[in-house]
Structure formats: C-alpha cells, structure tokens
C-alpha cells in the first residue's frame, strides 16, 4: 500500500500544530475550556482521509498525549485510537451528513474519547476529577466547524 507522501507530511505538520495548540501555556481559566485539538485533528483525518490518518495516527497522537499529560501509557492512545477507528469505519457515512449532524457525530466521539479516559482513570485508581473535565468535549464540539473549515481550506490550497 502506497501512501501519498505529501499528504502524510501535511498531516504530520497539522498534527504537530494541533499538539502545540494543545500544550501551549494558557491561563487556568481558559485552560479548562481548551478544546482537545489533537483529537479533533485525528477525527478530521479519519473522516476526510482514512488512508492518511487512521488508527495508527490516533494511536501515536494518543501516546504523545499520554506522555505529555503523564497518564498511564496507552490510556489516551486507546481512547484516541478508538475515535480514529470509528472515524475510519464510518467516514463514508458521515461525509454525507449535514454540518450539524457531523457536529453531533464529533460531539459523540469526543464524549466517547473522554469517557474512555475517564473509565480507565477510574479502573486504575487515578483521580477522576470533577465535572470540569467534560468541558473540553463541549468546547471541542463548538470549535469543530472552524477546525474542519480551516483544514479543508488548507487542503484545498495544497491541492490547487
């Protein structure tokens, strides 16, 4: 299987940018609302280009989150891989939905992602935090159209 190298490079750059957006220092009040950009990007690539993104990308991005957040190894990796897997599985279906329905899908995916992390936290005896850990699910859903639009624009420019 041959993957388009340019696209892979672009996906890596976008993922790196998302990671930067994920870890750049912000004031605490904004930090609890910070959308999970990395997951949004993984979802985007899974939906738009399953060959470029996909489960491997989700796994690696999640592993990076594990390292950054000091979580159990594989915790975020599993959650992100699950989301990527669902995206790849259903990208043909989702692609045909309206923006609103795609938003709902993203919301469900982010919820699932956070849920997986939360469950693993609970099982392994980590602190599970309070309600504020679910705020990024909302903020992520809200910024999703913007992220998708930006990345689509970037892709369009790259393909012109």
């Amino acid at each position: 299987m041959k993957l388009p190298r340019q696209s892979l490079f672009r996906a890596a750059v976008v993922l790196l940018l998302a990671f930067i957006a994920q870890i750049i220092p912000l004031p605490a009040a904004v930090d609890v609302l910070r959308p999970p950009f990395v997951v949004l990007v993984v979802i985007f690539w899974s939906l738009r280009a399953p060959g470029v993104g996909g489960i491997g990308m989700g796994f690696l991005a999640g592993l990076a989150l594990d390292i950054y957040r000091g979580a159990l190894f594989g915790q975020y990796a599993l959650a992100t891989a699950v989301v990527a897997y669902l995206g790849v599985r259903q990208h043909l279906l989702i692609r045909n939905q309206t923006q609103f329905q795609q938003g709902l899908y993203v919301f469900a995916n982010l919820l699932l992602w956070e849920f997986v992390v939360w469950v693993i936290d609970g099982w392994t005896g980590q602190p599970t935090g309070n309600w504020s850990r679910w705020l990024p699910v909302l903020s992520g859903t809200i910024v999703w159209p913007l992220v998708a639009w930006l990345l689509d624009r970037a892709n369009a420019v790259a393909h012109r």
Binding site: I24, G51, G74, L78
Partner: protein, 311 residues
C-alpha cells in the same frame, strides 16, 4: 494523487483489515497500560520521553514568557518608578534615623561614663546638655539647658564623663551657667590620692589645665598623681576625680613647687554634663544643703540607678 480522493478505494481495500488493525492497537494499548500499571520499567521510558519533550515545551512556553517579559518591561515601569521613589524616601528616613541613633549612642556612652564617675556619695543626678560655652583665658564657662525649674541651685557640683567639671554659678529658670575648674577665678579643694596631701587646685584660664600653687618645694608630688575632691569647703562632695598631675617644677627661685594638672573631664568637648546631689547623710557630702524642689517632673533629677557590676 489526492489526499482524500476515492474513499471507496480505501474502504474496499481496508475495510477487512481495519477491525483487525484496531484490535491490534487496542491490545497494544491495554498491554501498555497493564505493564505501566504493574511495574516500573515503563517509568524510565516515560522519563526519557518527557526529557525529549522538554525542548518542545520550552519552545512553546517561550512566546508567552517573552510576552510577559515585554509587558513587565513596559507596563510595570511606572510601578517600578513609584516603588523606587518610595524606597528612596524610605532610605532618607532611615538615614535620618541612623544619624539620630548614632547621636543617641554617643550620648548614651557619655552618660555611662558619667555614671561610673558618680561615687556612692551621690544620691541623685540630673543630666544636662551643653548649649553654650566660653573658654577664654579670662572666663571658662559652660551654659547648660537645665535650671531652677529642674531643681538646680547655685554652687552645685557638676560632673562630666570622666570627672569633676565645675559648679553651677548663675542659675536661670531653664538654664545654668557653669564655672569650669579651669576658670581663672575658680579653685577646688583637692587631695592627692597617693599621699593624701590636701591643697587647692586653681584654674589657669587654659582649658583643662589646673595649677596647684600651694605645695611646698619638698612636698611629695609627682607627675601622674591623681587628684580627687577633698570635700573640704562645703561645695564639692569628697572623692570625685578631678585631675592628674602632669608637670612638677621645682626651681630654687620659689619656695613652692609649680605643679600643673590636667582635668580628667575634657572641659571643652563634653556635650552632656550632670548636676549631682550628694547624699545628705553621707559623711563626705560637704555641708551645703541642696534643694531639689519644684519644676518640670519630666526633667528633674533622677535617683541614681544602681551601678553596673564591674566587668
């Protein structure tokens, strides 16, 4: 080839292995979590990865750090200037305080020596600041800032740091003129401590210099002898240090020895002196009754505090 061209192709190519791939990744994740939860060997991996991530974190935090720095430089300049001003003000105040303090320390040291001068014949003392002085060869006087209001009377003994300095001459309500030992019109009955010889020490008009003109040629006096008040004459209590003999000249032309002495008190330099009240019942008190009535209670004579134990 387009990045996300024909999904169908991907779908058709990958739909079969994709579940398998996910299962493999999921298994890998679970295994990782299991080992991470169980044992510590992943700790070192994590440590290394965190170390590798550090430059990235540093690079990412640098813009905000730079922004903070810039803001501090520009916005807090005014605050810093204000703080600087306040600190300067504070420094000025503290310098003033330090000056006052060093002055107080000097005063305190002088008062300490005053007290060691005071013998147990002295019942009360009243410190006074020198506010004026006249030390010519005709007149050797001091003016101090305590007077009748404070209970000072005429003819009262005045001591300074290391010994007798003179007696009160003219007492005003708030100030007193003191005639110094070295005033040419002043005489003080003294006793040479080594031999017990009693004589008079006259002022010479030369500040701090006394002459003892009434000692016969053959009298036992020599340079270095200590003179204290003899207590005769009823003005000064006995035993107050007065002077030290500095010069003894015996030439045949006069039947008397020419003896000079230098007062222990530095008459022209002391800034704090003390009026003393001898203990009336003490045999060395000298006859004259002393009054200490009336006046400003905050500035009247204090009972002499117990002397400090000798070191």
């Amino acid at each position: 080839m387009a990045a996300y061209g024909s999904g169908k192709r991907y779908l058709s190519q990958r739909s079969a292995p994709i579940d398998l791939r996910f299962a493999a990744y999921a298994f890998l994740c679970v295994a990782l979590m299991f080992f991470d939860q169980r044992g510590g060997w992943l700790e070192s991996v994590r440590y290394g990865l965190r170390a590798a991530a550090y430059p990235l974190e540093l690079a990412l935090s640098s813009p905000s750090a730079a922004w903070r720095f810039t803001r501090e430089v520009f916005e807090e300049r005014a605050a810093l200037q204000a703080e600087n001003r306040a600190l300067r003000e504070e420094i000025r105040k503290l310098q003033l305080l330090a000056m006052q303090r060093s002055r107080l320390e000097r005063d305190n040291a002088e008062l300490r020596t005053l007290r060691t001068t005071a013998t147990d014949v002295i019942e009360k003392w009243l410190p006074a600041d020198v506010i004026g002085s006249e030390t010519t060869s005709l007149k050797q006087r001091l003016t101090v800032d305590r007077g009748a209001v404070n209970g000072v009377v005429e003819g009262q003994t005045v001591i300074a740091g290391s010994g007798l300095i003179g007696q009160s001459l003219r007492v005003g309500p708030w100030s007193t003129e003191i005639i110094l030992l070295s005033d040419p019109e002043h005489a003080v009955p003294v006793q040479i401590t080594r031999t017990g010889v009693r004589t008079l020490a006259l002022g010479t008009g030369d500040t701090g210099v006394l002459s003892l003109p009434y000692l016969p040629l053959q009298s036992d006096v020599r340079s270095g002898d200590q003179l204290v008040t003899s207590g005769l004459g009823g003005v000064f209590p006995a035993g107050v240090p007065v002077a030290e003999v500095t010069e003894v000249r015996r030439d045949g032309a006069s039947p008397l020895a020419q003896v000079r002495a230098r007062t222990y008190a530095t008459l022209d330099r002391d800034r704090v002196v003390a009026f003393v009240w001898p203990r009336a019942s003490h045999p060395a008190a000298g006859g004259k009754p002393q009054s200490d009535t009336g006046g400003d209670p905050t500035a009247t004579a204090q009972p002499l505090p117990p002397p400090e134990p000798a070191p």
